[in-house]
């Protein structure tokens, strides 16, 4: 086989290791991740719009003679549902798929600090999820002709924190459970968020013990915080909401970072 050019070369020195700044790695990984997930963006916005319509118009059918007060409650809850659905359902499904296909480990084998992979995903999923806030409010406005009283700084902070919390917890579910189990858990979470969480109805309608459970879960604080940002004239949030959300975010990030960095 003459073309096998096994010319004995003088042994060179080992080549230099990769030296890339964190910023450059981040930009390149963002580019990659946006290209991979970006194709889904129009579809996800469409799903968010349909989900918002389902919540706002559909729940309107369940409650006949809806009062302006309950219409505002329903409408100011819809964006939270959309953000939580992306983070707790679509994120774990995407990560589970990446784990099954080997894409997850491929990225972990790159010469990139592994926590950076999580940061990139958090940013990309925030970009995907955040249009949901506008979509949800638009549908509500079209249906009920409401006037919102935005507290912009609070709304921006709440949207970012809720998205980050949901993505981090969703990520943690995907990295902690087998893909099949993660898929099932995320399916169950849809129903829990949609029907059994005080987002579109006041917590006072729940039995006492269930209110206690929700006080420790991040769902009600997320809803309260978002609501206070959307209709600041009618609702307020307190520091406890912020604290519970922050703790769940930290927990999700901790579990996920550990799973990304740890070798099996």
């Amino acid at each position: 086989m003459p073309e096998a050019t096994a010319v004995p070369t003088p042994r060179p020195h080992p080549l230099a290791p990769v030296q890339v700044s964190l910023g450059a790695s981040f930009r390149t990984m963002m580019h990659w991740s946006l290209a991979a997930t970006g194709a889904m963006l129009p579809l996800i916005v469409l799903i968010q719009a349909m989900l918002a319509a389902g919540i706002i118009i559909g729940f309107g059918f369940v409650i006949p003679d809806i009062t302006p007060a309950s219409a505002l409650f329903l409408s100011s809850g819809a964006p939270t549902i959309l953000l939580l659905t992306i983070g707790l359902v679509i994120v774990p499904q995407g990560i589970s798929r990446a784990k099954a296909s080997g894409a997850f480990d491929y990225q972990r084998a790159l010469p990139v600090a592994r926590p950076l992979l999580l940061l990139v995903d958090l940013v990309v999923w925030a970009l995907i999820a955040l249009p949901g806030v506008a979509v949800g409010l638009l549908v509500a406005w079209l249906r009920f002709d409401l006037t919102f009283s935005f507290d912009w700084p609070l709304l921006i902070l709440a949207s970012l924190l809720v998205t980050t919390m949901a993505t981090a917890v969703g990520y943690a579910i995907a990295v902690s459970l087998q893909p099949m189990l993660a898929q099932m858990v995320s399916q169950v979470l849809v129903f829990f968020v949609l029907l059994f969480s005080p987002i579109t109805f006041p917590a006072s309608q729940l039995p006492d013990w269930f209110q206690t459970v929700h006080a420790a879960l991040p769902i009600q604080p997320a809803a309260d915080l978002m609501r206070a940002g959307i209709a600041s004239g009618s609702f307020t949030a307190d520091a406890r909401d912020l604290l519970v959300l922050a703790l769940w975010t930290a927990l999700g990030l901790l579990i996920t970072t550990r799973a990304l960095v740890r070798r099996k």
Binding site: E3, P14, L15, P111
Partner: protein, 337 residues
């Protein structure tokens, strides 16, 4: 200073009771292509996963350049480029943008990364697909083009240690040849290459050293010539056995056989060149009596030695389905002795 780019010592790793890597030691020097051969499940991918910090060894050391890869996996990864056995995730990207991204991640400037993509498209003959987008569920680009893109991403920038895990899967014969040459070239340019494959016959042409793994252990290592272990002039008589599997060479065989390996419905006999005529005569007679379905005589290859080392006597371990039987020699029905 002459440092190995990879030095593995007494590496051991198991999953539950199964020992996937059992006391493995090997080294890869700069400029050297080292083939890691073994059947499915021999422990090849487990070994690779430990080098890039996906799995933690239970015992042993891994040194990548000057870095202790067991203690500092993140630092070690900066010396390594891996083409994994699973398809490289490029959905949403074109081969051009995927190669550019890989180059950028390894420190190339935008301009160098663009040039690298163009050069690699030329080298691997994937130019026509360079701007075709890979779509989810395997759409847009074929498996072979995806695999070649994955290879191009691994070599987009020069790396001290290049690890290729079954790089020729899904790739057509002509581009496979381009790929092997490209692998050899990376070695000649100074990378140390660890090439994981079960494609013994093709890998033989480009490797400097071979390590044969079987059930997690190194069963042989050395240069291809050393491992072949026979004279260059020796011949391989391959018998295709009938479906019921009786092997006539087990009984009355008046040939001096240097080595005999049975794998599924094939028996490989290594015979000296001087016996070519009598080997053909014997095999022709067997075929006339329908005791074999067919036969071929060709120069002995490394594959024969490899099979001799890794085919097991007990039927459970007898891997009959060699996914890539070497097609070339079977055309050489007559010996050139």
């Amino acid at each position: 200073m002459d440092t190995d780019v990879l030095r593995i010592t007494a590496l051991t790793r198991g999953y539950g009771k199964v020992v996937a890597n059992d006391d493995i030691s090997l080294r890869v020097r700069p400029g050297e292509v080292v083939g890691l051969l073994g059947h499915n499940g021999a422990g090849k991918t487990t070994l690779v996963s430990q080098v890039v910090g996906l799995l933690k060894p239970h015992a042993g050391t891994i040194q990548v350049g000057q870095v202790d890869a067991v203690r500092h996996p993140g630092a070690a990864r900066r010396h390594v480029a891996l083409q994994a056995q699973s398809q490289t995730p490029i959905d949403g990207l074109t081969p051009r943008s995927a190669i550019e991204i890989a180059g950028r991640l390894r420190g190339l400037s935008s301009r160098d990364a663009r040039a690298s993509a163009v050069d690699l498209a030329e080298e691997l003959d994937i130019g026509p697909w360079l701007d075709q987008r890979a779509l989810p569920e395997g759409g847009g680009l074929s498996g072979g083009i995806r695999r070649l893109t994955g290879f191009a991403m691994a070599v987009a920038a020069p790396t001290a240690l290049l690890i290729l895990d079954e790089p020729t899967n899904d790739i057509d014969a002509s581009r496979r040849r381009l790929l092997w040459d490209a692998v050899r070239r990376r070695g000649d340019l100074g990378s140390g290459v660890l090439l994981v494959t079960h494609n013994v016959a093709e890998a033989e042409r480009i490797v400097d050293e071979l390590i044969i793994l079987d059930r997690g252990r190194v069963v042989a290592d050395g240069s291809p010539a050393h491992l072949r272990g026979t004279q260059d002039s020796d011949l391989r008589l391959e018998l295709q056995l009938p479906p019921d599997g009786a092997d006539p060479s087990e009984e009355e065989l008046e040939l001096p056989v240097l080595r005999r390996v049975r794998t599924g419905r094939r028996t490989l006999l290594t015979v000296p060149a001087a016996e070519a005529a009598s080997a053909v005569a014997w095999a022709t007679a067997q075929r006339a009596e329908n005791r074999i379905d067919g036969f071929s005589l060709a120069p002995a290859t490394l594959e024969d030695a490899y099979l001799a080392l890794t085919v097991h006597a007990d039927p459970d371990a007898d891997r009959t389905a060699d996914p890539a039987p070497d097609p070339a020699p079977s055309h050489q029905e007559t010996a050139h002795a």
